[in-house]
C-alpha cells in the first residue's frame, strides 16, 4: 500500500528566503505524486504533480517540486517565500500499479513565513 511521510510538523522561513517542504513516499511501482495546499477555512488546492518525464515539475504560485526516485522523495520548493504562502501543505501519492484511485496523504506541514 502506498504511503507518504512529511517529517516536519512546522516549517518556519523568513520572507524572501527559499522554502522547502519535505516529502518521502513508499509505493510498490512508479508513483504519481501531488502537492496540495490548504488555507484556513478552505479546501485542499492542487499545486502540482509528477506523473512522468522531467523530474522537476513547476506548479501554481511559483512552487516547484523535484522527484528523486533513488531517495523516494518529492520535496516542494519555492525560491523566495511570501507571507501569503503561510498555509498547510500536503503531499500525496497514488500508486497506479494498485489499480485504485485513492490518494494517500501525508500528515501535512504547517508553513509559517515570517515578515
Amino acid at each position: 500500500a502506498q504511503s507518504v511521510a512529511q517529517p516536519e510538523d512546522q516549517v518556519n522561513v523568513a520572507e524572501g528566503n527559499p522554502l522547502t517542504v519535505k516529502c518521502t513516499y513508499s509505493v510498490s511501482g512508479n508513483p504519481y505524486l501531488f502537492w496540495y495546499v490548504q488555507y484556513p477555512n478552505r479546501g485542499l488546492q492542487f499545486l502540482l504533480k509528477y506523473i512522468t518525464g522531467d523530474n522537476l515539475v513547476k506548479g501554481s504560485y511559483g512552487f516547484e517540486a523535484e522527484f528523486n526516485k533513488s531517495q523516494t522523495s518529492f520535496h516542494l520548493k519555492k525560491p523566495s517565500a511570501l507571507v501569503s504562502d503561510s498555509a498547510l501543505y500536503f503531499c500525496a501519492v497514488r500508486d497506479p500499479a494498485d489499480g485504485n484511485n485513492r490518494l494517500a496523504f501525508g500528515k501535512g506541514n504547517q508553513v509559517v513565513v515570517i515578515p
Partner: protein
C-alpha cells in the same frame, strides 16, 4: 474557475443520529470521492464512486456509511448512526478520469461534530 462545493460547512449532531453531507462536484468530472481528516491526523480516503457505483472503499467505510448520486449534480455521504469518533472534517473531491495522472479537486469540507 469551476469548484467543488460542500454543504453545510459545519454540522453538529448527537450520537446515534443520521447525517447527510452534501457535495456538488465539478460538472464534467466522472469520479467522485470522500475523504476525512480527524483533527490532528492525516487526510484519509473513504470511498470513490464512478458510474453510479462504489469503485473502491477503505476499511473505514463500514456499513454505517453510504454514498449516493441522487441526481446529475449532487453527491452525498450518509452516516446512519453517528459515533463520537466520526467527528472530523469531511472532504469531497472529484476528478476527470479521462486524463492520465489526473488530479483530484477538493471542496472546502464539512466539519462534523458529534456530541
Amino acid at each position: 474557475e469551476p469548484e467543488v462545493t460542500q454543504t453545510p460547512s459545519h454540522q453538529v449532531t448527537q450520537m446515534g443520529q443520521e447525517v447527510i453531507l452534501r457535495c456538488v462536484p465539478i460538472s464534467n468530472h466522472l469520479y467522485f470521492y470522500w475523504y476525512r481528516q480527524i483533527l490532528g491526523q492525516k487526510v484519509e480516503f473513504l470511498v470513490s464512486f464512478y458510474n453510479n457505483e462504489i469503485s473502491e472503499k477503505s476499511e473505514i467505510f463500514d456499513d454505517q456509511f453510504s454514498v449516493e448520486r441522487p441526481d446529475g449534480s449532487n453527491f452525498t455521504l450518509k452516516i446512519r448512526s453517528t459515533k463520537l469518533e466520526d467527528s472530523a472534517m469531511y472532504f469531497c473531491a472529484s476528478s476527470d478520469q479521462g486524463r492520465l495522472g489526473y488530479e483530484q479537486y477538493f471542496g472546502p469540507g464539512t466539519r462534523l461534530t458529534v456530541t
